[in-house]
């Protein structure tokens, strides 16, 4: 299956987004468009507001200024019910997976399903959970507790949990953070597989250039609270800007 990116259909549109925490201005007028079916990678150093950006998109944080439109809806103006409905179309994969510790893998996956999709029989729920786990290659972990899983497995289960509601948009927060190169590669492949199989539009937050290169259709680099460079991987790093060069060098040479 091939990627099908529709450059005529805007899924996420952000204009002049500003966010500060106390005196610290994190986002200083961010503009960003994400098109249907594309994987957009947001690159930047730690603490530059990458995670803040996707938390604003999903309504977990509120913007100080600016416009954030997701699927044509202004996120900041939605009622709690409208926001809940929008969130059903957004999958959020957290940096630390955020699996519910007190539940088994099966219960973790069932949780969003039984609460949001009505009139599902027990057999339907079991089938959906098993299919989601097979998609991420972890069907055998169905009765395990999150504490029994490795970091990579937790990430995959976290992604499976978001996929179970068949979202149109996927937001990945540092999907390869803390993983070895082989497991990181598996996660990168999974992100691409999700894009193709489920036709999702994704934003991938990372500072891992290997992840950016292998998953991103387009790269946006966050520098000083704004996207100062956007384009393909080669276009973004074809720069004399010292900040961009040092980011590249540390990832591929020193780090």
């Amino acid at each position: 299956m091939k990627k099908s990116i529709n450059h005529d259909k805007l899924i996420i549109s952000i204009r002049n987004l500003k966010k500060a925490f106390g005196d610290l201005e994190v986002l200083r007028g961010v503009d960003l468009d994400v098109y249907q079916g594309e994987n957009l990678v947001v690159l930047g150093r730690s603490g530059t507001g990458k995670s803040v950006l996707i938390k604003i998109i999903s309504g977990l944080l509120t913007a100080d200024e600016g416009s954030v439109k997701v699927l044509g809806q202004e996120v900041g103006e939605l009622s709690p019910r409208e926001l809940a409905e929008l969130r059903l179309k957004i999958g959020f994969s957290f940096q630390n997976s955020a699996l519910y510790d007190s539940m088994t893998v099966r219960e973790n996956l069932e949780f969003p399903l039984v609460r949001n999709v009505r009139n599902l029989s027990r057999a339907d729920i079991n089938r959906e959970v098993e299919e989601a786990l097979e998609d991420v290659g972890l069907a055998h972990t169905i009765n395990q507790m999150p504490s029994e899983l490795s970091g990579g497995q937790r990430k995959r289960i976290g992604i499976a949990r978001t996929l179970i509601l068949k979202p149109e948009i996927m937001l990945y927060d540092e999907p390869t953070a803390g993983l070895d190169p082989i497991t990181s590669g598996e996660i990168n492949n999974l992100i691409n597989q999700v894009q193709v199989q489920h036709n999702t539009t994704s934003i991938i937050i990372t500072h891992d250039l290997t992840c950016a290169k292998s998953t991103g259709d387009r790269i946006a680099m966050l520098l000083d609270g704004q996207f100062q460079r956007q384009g393909s991987f080669a276009e973004v790093f074809d720069s004399q800007d010292e900040r961009v060069k040092s980011f590249y060098d540390y990832n591929f040479i020193d780090g």
């Binding site: 500060a20 925490f21 106390g22 938390k55 999903s58 309504g59 977990l60 944080l61 509120t62 809940a84 409905e85 969130r87 059903l88 957004i90 959020f92 957290f94 940096q95 630390n96 955020a98 699996l99 519910y100 510790d101 007190s102 949780f111 969003p112 609460r115 949001n116 949990r161 978001t162 509601l165």
Partner: protein, 265 residues
């Protein structure tokens, strides 16, 4: 969504500003508990699960504490009564003390230590590991699912545990009375029930509802608002216990004044 821009200059003093802001946050939190409790969807399964956690899992500790309290209180009261040759009043004295004060307080304090710290640590840990955010982005109201269900469970289970503590403590006291005064069970029970009034039982049950609500609300508030990091989780558990215990004693004092005013002289 709990980021706040702090005021640049304090309105009163920084400490007073913080205190009033905290009071406002607590009031808003309690108000939200009442609001969410009456709005659908209702989390019946989670409430039942939490009732099991709060009630059933506290039984061993409550049983041991209640039983020992009954024995020790009886043993310590006997010398004073025997000085006046009034050891026959022992069952009545024990019943009044246990029903009016000891059982509600002991149950609430044990629950504050066991359940309150558990709730504070659990929610604190969920906050730190983004599990609460994960719930929110999967279109589930985490406040209703986590907070309202736990507050419901503590509010309704503490009075039941209190009644159980009364029974166990009276049983412990009976064993001691029977060994020393050779009082029969029937005589003991008759004396116990003759001593206590409807107001004693009613006020203790109402008090226990308040204590239960306090333990649940404080534990949830501290956990739900814990700062990031493992240190925050420990702090949430600790302050949940300390604050609950402090509030329980204050509430006990207020209840004492109210019940004393209502009691016919």
């Amino acid at each position: 969504m709990n980021e706040q821009k702090g005021p640049e200059k304090p309105v009163l003093t920084r400490r007073l500003d913080r205190f009033f802001l905290e009071m406002y946050a607590v009031s808003a939190f309690v108000g939200r508990i009442f609001k969410e409790a009456f709005l659908p969807p209702y989390e019946f399964r989670e409430i039942v699960k939490q009732c099991f956690e709060v009630g059933y899992k506290s039984l061993p500790l409550i049983s041991l504490t209640g039983f020992i309290t009954g024995i020790v209180f009886t043993n310590q009261s006997r010398p004073s009564l025997s000085e006046f040759g009034a050891t026959s009043w022992l069952p009545a004295l024990i019943a009044i003390a246990i029903v009016r004060a000891l059982a509600p307080l002991v149950t609430a304090l044990i629950a504050a230590g066991k359940v309150g710290s558990n709730i504070g640590a659990e929610l604190g840990s969920m906050k730190v590991t983004e599990q609460i955010d994960a719930m929110e982005v999967s279109a589930t109201n985490p406040f209703k699912f986590l907070v309202v269900s736990r507050v419901f469970a503590t509010t309704f289970m503490i009075p039941i545990l209190m009644i159980y503590t009364v029974a166990v403590a009276l049983m412990g006291a009976y064993i001691n009375v029977h060994q020393n005064e050779a009082t029969s069970f029937q005589t003991y029970i008759t004396q116990v029930f003759n001593a206590i009034t409807f107001l004693d039982v009613f006020s203790s049950v109402i008090k226990s509802f308040v204590f239960g609500f306090t333990i649940g609300a404080v534990g949830c508030y501290k956990g739900y608002h814990s700062s990031k990091g493992t240190e925050g989780v420990g702090k949430a558990a600790n302050t949940a216990v300390v604050t609950s215990m402090f509030l329980i004693f204050i509430e006990e004092l207020i209840a004492l004044q109210i019940v004393s005013a209502l009691r016919p002289s």
